[in-house]
Symmetry: D3
Subunit: 292 residues, 6 copies
């Protein structure tokens, strides 16, 4: 095979890969001026959100009380601007609306998202507290914020959940999947989760789209809050949007690798032991464990 043969292979393959039919399946045709969601922009958005929510820990770490407003100001402005862009990309992906509408909607939703940041910070403060109180190995809250994967996964989830509530398509899921990749914790942005939520270690945790989780709940690594099965429509496709994941009451603890499936309820204050498989309701205050 000489250099000419190789060039032929390359150009033939380019031809095959560029044909309409070959593209058909996995090619996203953009309309003019339309852009797709950008992984790089979303990474930056998450960085900015962390710098705004945990100033002095993330971002420019040298901020002090006098100059903090400048940094938050600049970060909020950049976050708004990137978020508007990404929301527009998400909206364009989901709907065939005129560019003006997309732009205006994207800006409004980005601004509304920004207005939720103070509340998000208050909620995340409760999550940090829960992680600190729940782990004898933690030596300071700083350690929690700097190192604990749970905080990063929960922060991304809380951001993504707000975006979902604002009707933003696609983007929320990309944001939670970024945390999934970083931490091994997979929380669907559609789940509803209360305050003081924590996850120890975290790798392998799955929290499904229609879960409802109360306040002060603690999960360990490998816990699945999943669907048992899902009804199909007449064409054999899964029916979207049906409540199919567990409801977890306040003050529940679920130990490592437990699997809880279906629209069942784990009552307030219950403790679910590790490595078990739960498909039925658990009484408030109950303790269920693996049989030896």
């Amino acid at each position: 095979m000489d250099s000419r043969d190789i060039t032929s292979i390359l150009t033939d393959t380019v031809g095959k890969l560029s044909e309409g039919e070959a593209l058909g399946m996995l090619f996203h045709r953009h309309s003019a001026g339309d852009i797709g969601p950008s992984g790089k922009a979303l990474h930056r958005i998450v960085e900015l959100a962390r710098a705004i929510l945990f100033p002095g820990y993330y971002g420019n770490t040298r901020v002090d009380g006098q100059t903090i407003a400048y940094h938050i100001g600049v970060n909020v402005e950049e976050l708004y601007s990137l978020m508007a862009q990404q929301i527009e990309a998400g909206l364009a992906h989901a709907a065939d609306e005129p560019k003006e509408w997309l732009e205006q909607q994207a800006k409004e939703r980005a601004a509304k998202f920004v207005s939720k940041l103070p509340e998000l910070r208050r909620t995340l403060a409760t999550d940090v507290e829960a992680a600190y109180n729940g782990d004898p190995a933690a030596t300071s809250k700083g350690e929690i914020i700097y190192c604990y994967p749970a905080i990063r996964a929960i922060a991304n989830y809380r951001i993504a959940h707000e975006l979902l509530l604002l009707g933003v398509p696609l983007i929320p899921r990309i944001i939670t999947e970024m945390a999934h990749s970083e931490t091994g914790i997979d929380i669907h942005p559609g789940a509803k989760i209360g305050n003081y939520f924590t996850i120890d270690h975290g790798t392998g945790v799955v929290i499904g789209e229609t879960c409802i989780i109360g306040n002060n709940v603690k999960l360990y690594q490998g816990v699945t809050l999943g669907a048992k099965s899902f009804p199909l429509d007449e064409k054999g496709n899964p029916i979207k949007g049906i409540a199919r994941h567990p409801i977890i009451g306040d003050n529940v603890i679920i130990y490592s690798n437990a699997t809880i499936l279906g629209r069942i309820t784990i009552g307030q204050g219950a403790v679910v032991g590790g490595n078990i498989w739960v498909t039925e309701d658990v009484e408030p205050g109950a303790r269920i464990v693996q049989r030896k």
Copy 2:
């Protein structure tokens, strides 16, 4: 300890770390002109492959039908060139051949790999379809391609598997480990996997070297398709290359955290429940679950 003491410690340590004996164990001595595999180049290869296989989703997302061939052309050329380089590094690592032979071989195998890309795209289109049909939370195929870790892990696996079939050492494994790090899904490039393959959530999935998986199979997070044990040779070392992982039939579903070990067969259409430990054949169509 003053600044002079510290300098002494540093230079002494450098001396110790650079001695022949100290290096002996963990030092890869390259012959002149020989290069090692490059994580950075392989990351770029994966990026390029994604941009070629899923145009409009990855890479320059603004491509349209008119100009797509330019982009695919440039990406294919860069992919070919980096791939030839990395294949050469892999061959050099495994065999002591003259540089000319290595170069020529690397170019041919890289060109052959490129010629497989249209087929790889067709297969990946079936995987995207399987993921979409199997998840009620998925709102569009775009969401699958942008967010689902399974697609990234399976794409890397399919690339790596082609390279393995072309006799490329070392590189395939690095490529699947890159996906393992990104997604928590660990697929050995030696496994054989059919069309319409999907993995839900995915963290913790392990698919061993000699697995054979049919068409339309679905796994959930934490599933292990592993070896039960492996025979040792007379020196006590594991014997390489023995078939020791499961065979999974068409249309099988395996739920989360199930562990399936050894050269057993899970028959067509079987359903394996979560959190169980399977070391014996399962009949076609059977449903096996954890005992309560």
Copy 3:
């Protein structure tokens, strides 16, 4: 909502986010000149350590026997300098000492850390050997070093453990969490682990703070060596520093997804089967498995 409304929302939100009270919870106020730990610097430290410990594999891969000392010299110097900076950040975070003391301490501890590198390399060589001997799919030690997540996780752990022994706060934990994110393997820097240690696949492994692990131990993916429960002080907070994780004897093998909890002892040479839950001592040489 016009452009003026949006600007109002942004500036109002910046105001709310910058108020003393809002900051109170999650704001790390630095004293003048004080810096926080830097994720970027710590990533570079890990890169440098890998290049020093595995020359020819990581870092500039073209090193040969003649010029290796230059590369190790430059890398050691940069590692020392970044490490001193990060140790200072860790010390400043934990204690309110004068800057001179912090700087001097940081330099001494960084130099002491550097002096441990030759020994660290010797230990890691045993881990590489254990991984190679324990996996029939491994075709060369190079493959182990280039691809196996276990080596990256164990290297980070061994670095972090040395720093912990030198009394460095915060930094060791960040370093092991970086490996956790990269590999899904979560080893607390406080654990004590012998030679010839290996972990197969690795995703989901958790090794707690007070674990003691002997020589030649092998774990599979999803294994938890955790705490069963932890005593609270009179205020209901967990008491820090109590031995609460397992002791694993020499030559033990623990299969995938096994969960071993509490200050129990798994005797020498024992084999623990997959997916089981162990909360009591296991005899030396015993084999325990999941009941079917």
Copy 4:
């Protein structure tokens, strides 16, 4: 001065610098969504233009005859897209038009500019030939293209001149000033310059806005083709747009540091010696030199 005093100085100064009046003079207030010209984008535009005009010299230098169209295609597309953006910035700076108009105009003019590239390449080929033929130190045309500042300055000028003809404000001048900074050659984009134009060494050359230069003209370093004086309007401001720079006939040579001022004509084939000051017409074929 303690740390508190310094913070006061900084915050006071920020206040002063942000006040309306202080900003008044040197602050460019953008309307919403409006962006300024970007030095970075314009640098990239020049890089792309060089790669398109001189393929194999600039840009990805490995192109061959088979794959050149992919590279030119991708570069042209990126050039178009950045150019449209920058033209929009230029138009927005100069005129207060609605965003839709600006966008549409910018796209059309960028496309027209692109359509001029083949002709630009033909003209630049004559400039390369002139430089090669005129310099005994030049060993190949490749050397001219890779090294000669004249080629870079003339290429930027020819690009900028086309943009000026398309009515693009601001951007042309920035592009010629980029070449001025790189080469010391200052050609106003408004000048008209024929084929086979070359400048030897070049530093210090100035070619004014209303110059007209014939074919096959050669200048040496330090030559000024400037205005002698310019009439003021009744308010004492210079009147814009009056022809005030020299006309240089075909086949003229002007030696180093000569200064030619005013709307005079240097006739065809004339030779102007170095270090002289010319403010009156020069006959065709004349040779004028400094008096000793």
Copy 5:
């Protein structure tokens, strides 16, 4: 010459280059913790200063009146911090003082420098006005700020001059040389220059250390304001600090390539023609030109 010979040449040369004597001449030995001036940091300082002084033109160009204070705040803080570092490097280079003194001095002088920024902006506004009024080719003040090399050279000079007045060694000269490289205009930071100063085209302009330039002065390209000769001390070395460059009165114009040497005075309102050599005083209002 085989690969071994080449390695010998390299290692021998490294040895020769690292010997004390060889280093002696051109090696700057730093004391511990001492750093040299950083070209990269100084480039960033100039970027930041431009963004602060000309907001909306340089730096993030999208600033508007509402959020400008955030941007100026963040830029001022970064400028202060980098400037303090570089001033410390300059002081350390010039004097052998304890680190605490260096640090404290550097911070104070950096803060004082910052406090001069509002006044610097006012002065630069007059320079922009002068450039605009003096050039019929200029179509807007924006064009002046975006493109004119004079503005960049004068801005760097004015910054450097303030630093010189604050007693900062080395750094001012590096800053003016950065502009020299960018624009071909070489202004010594020691020169004293009034308001409404402008330079047309600029390449080749030299303004010496002890020049004094009045208000509303205009220079063209290639003008030298230099020293005629300089007295030597008894050892034959030039005596530093003697006034040896021209004094230029208010409202003077000096045309291209004029050379004005020695401590002479060009009287108010004088006009000096191009390409001439002036070594004696010029009367106020005089016009001197090259003899034909």
Copy 6:
């Protein structure tokens, strides 16, 4: 013009730009595996050379006497490797030799170049001394090395001249043009220049290919050492390689903007005044000046 028209313009233009004929003139066709010279690599080479020749000033500025050899070692190795690559590119450009010959030659010449570095440093030390002694505004040798453009231009020239002596095509000229762009000083690599050479300010200096300059020569800005005219061959092309530039004796000073043309001799110790035009020999010790 709608989006479809624009796409047509783009694709048509790509077609025209990629046709054989259009490419013919300005397209460098590479043979397989052949690369062109890389501006980026050459910039890095210059950076490395500066770090090796002036340690503690350029490159990692924190080096001290203990660890300097590591830094020089690593820099020399990288310099060698990049230089071999670039020399190969230069040789490939100039001659049609087999790849093996090119590679071997490139390596040998790169090694020979490296072996000249100690001598280059000794010569540059004399240039630094000359600059320091000749400028009353210089406050330290550090200032000379950090700021003076002459040192950067002369260093590039001395590097390029060594490469020229080693028979390297193309690359030397690119290296001196890089300095030309940075400093406005244009020294042809073919010129021969003695020790203790300095240039004050420097913008606009031109030193031609066949110049011979003695020891202890000083030039000011704008000086041209050029060719008066050059003989043409029978085809009207300039004859290459004829001695056509001046010979400058030891201890000569040439003031600003003087132009010295042709193969004349400026005798030892002569002083040439500014702004004059010299085309005949000048006696040793003479002082020639512009007539008033």
